[in-house]
Symmetry: C2
Subunit: 382 residues, 2 copies
């Protein structure tokens, strides 16, 4: 595997050989032994309820036995914040750090600087914006994720959220649990999805899977992206390309955010951008919370300009108790969950294991998994 840091680390190992035979012996006795740290959420009482619930501390992606049988050290912790946290203790000597977007360990330039042995940053899932990618590239690290592991999971979830908003599901559910029955209070703003205009901002893997799933709903489908989808797939999906985002936005009854968080998309949906949206627009955002200006979304939900907002991404995460999106009207939010279904966990656990196996053997990863390789960011993060 081609990694600048691997080379410089080898240089350090060789250098230390002269100064410290004990350390060198250790390296020699177990030449391939690596220290791998995984940061996941604690599942506590839920960990044992499902044998396929792999993405938590307790079940550790299901790779502990295999890693340890290969002589590697595998530390897993949920404790990722502040200078005294468990993660911080292992930063100086870990070789591989596995993180997830669902319980993100923020890999800052400072942490990268401290992590002298670090070679590989793996994201169990998709979305590596919790990592300072420029710092990682500059340090010669490899950053990779399990591309494709949960794109179906997220696309399905987006379609669910579109329907929840369009059909005004939650007020009806609230009536049920509150012992009420008032069809009018729901029906006056419940619609069919059929015939509505749905636009996706970003039509990468998730956006395309969403468009494919939307096709039988007989909507007017639009997409904005840097690149037009190739004509055959485009006609199969039945969506129309909108080169100019600002031209697309006012046409849409429903906007779905499917773009990664980058310097360009951070805060993209601010007050000015939201003002361009159709009054009564519905927004689904399973991409990243920071693509939205938090307060601008709250204000537009309060004024009714945004008639419904649903997503599973927040900034920061976990969302604090007083995050205003918890309390704004017509929200259908959840914690960050869409990409971590049991099916997705099985796929990204397998993907992490596959990349570790290749890493130990010095083999390349599947090309689409790289976020940073040879000091270069993948195109979608530039």
């Amino acid at each position: 595997m081609s990694m600048k840091r691997a080379a410089s680390s080898a240089v350090r190992a060789v250098a230390s050989l002269g100064n410290s035979p004990v350390q060198a012996r250790t390296l020699h006795a177990s030449p391939g032994s690596k220290k791998i740290v995984g940061v996941f959420y604690n599942a506590n009482e839920y960990a044992s309820l499902n044998p396929n619930f792999l993405g938590c501390v307790e079940n550790s992606l299901g790779i502990r036995q295999w890693l340890e049988s290969q002589g590697h050290q595998y530390i897993v912790t949920p404790d990722k914040e502040g200078p005294e946290c468990e993660l911080e203790k292992h930063i100086p000597d870990l070789h591989v750090l596995i993180t997830t977007p669902f319980h993100p360990a923020y890999v800052t330039a400072e942490r990268i600087k401290k992590a002298k042995n670090l070679q590989l940053l793996l994201t169990a899932g998709i979305g590596s914006d919790h990592i300072d990618l420029k710092a990682a590239a500059d340090a010669g690290l490899t950053v990779a994720e399990v591309t494709g592991s949960n794109v179906v999971s997220v696309a399905e979830d987006e379609l669910m959220r579109i329907l929840i908003l369009v059909r005004n599901f939650l007020p009806g559910y609230h009536q049920v649990i509150n012992g009420e029955w008032n069809v009018a209070a729901i029906a006056h703003r419940a619609y069919d999805l059929e015939g509505k205009t749905v636009g996706t901002v970003g039509a990468g893997r998730i956006g395309r899977l969403l468009l494919q799933r939307l096709k039988p709903f007989n909507c007017n489908l639009l997409y904005h992206d840097r690149l037009k989808i190739d004509p055959e797939l485009e006609s199969q999906i039945g969506a129309k390309y909108e080169e100019d985002l600002d031209a697309m936005l006012p046409k849409c009854d429903v906007i779905v955010i499917n773009t990664p968080l980058t310097e360009k998309t951070k805060g993209l949906f601010n007050k000015e951008k939201i003002a361009k949206l159709k009054k009564g627009v519905l927004i689904v955002n399973n991409a990243r919370g920071a693509i939205m200006d938090t307060q601008a979304v709250v204000d537009a939900c309060n004024s009714g300009h945004i008639a419904g907002y649903s997503g599973d991404v927040w900034y920061p995460q976990p969302a604090p108790k007083d995050h205003p999106w918890r309390y704004m009207p017509n929200q259908a939010m959840t914690p960050h969950i869409s990409g971590t279904t049991i099916d997705a966990q099985l796929r990204y656990s397998a993907g992490v294991e596959d990349m570790l196996r290749r890493y130990f053997k010095g083999e390349d990863f599947p090309a689409q998994n790289y976020i940073v390789k040879d000091g270069e960011l993948a195109p979608q993060y530039r």
Copy 2:
């Protein structure tokens, strides 16, 4: 329009001509004038919020001006229960009764017997099981609904509910509004729909629309019905026919009920039938509440045999405050709403107006709208 009651009513009119000149003059003065009664829910403060919110008392399907300009009398009321209710007052002399499944006025044999002038029962929407169809047929009435007016609405809603259950949406939403963040508590039982087996009990118009919308989700699709879908459509939908319901049930991760309520389907899902389902099955029922044994569903949700139940239909409706489905675990219920989106209201209001127009002119309705015609029930209600 061919209706036994029209004929017998004409006989009565002729007979009364001899006995009561005043009554005859009235008939003569306004030979086409009819008394039409509509039973809808009150929308109160919601009525004015949306000009297309037609299916409520206040907006009266949007046909008042037209009906009155034609010289007809149009009474609209939400008051439909008990001997003193407003509906009961008009039973003896109404010609046409318009009802809906969302706020059903139960048209019993007793009411039909009292309704000496009644000729036509129109359902604004689909589903006429709140009418004693046999009594209506015996009395020579015509019963018709706006077939197709809300099939898309209901099918979309079913797909939403499948996703809400499969992906375990509601526990996440509850965390948000309760100031919590616990991904594990959601993720341990959240799945992708992809790859799961979904079976519909009934593949009429709604069932087929659901199957078409499910196709891009890459599920294993099954359907049970009296009749196999024609081979071309079946291969287009990609669903497999299961002639034997009891053979299909244990295969399904998700069961969707899409059969009308008839003597055969009433209480179909009782304790014994539910026991045949896969442990952890998810059930979506937007058909009719009475197809399920209420307590058997509660017991199976409590035991975990049913892992999620969602639907908008109850027995009776409105569901009383103490209906046990409000309080059972893993429910995602709403009041009866899926077929009464704004789009559906526009369609069934137009359909009712069309049938009234034809009725006044003595023309037949679109064939698929008839539930009872010439003393015969439509096949799906036999």
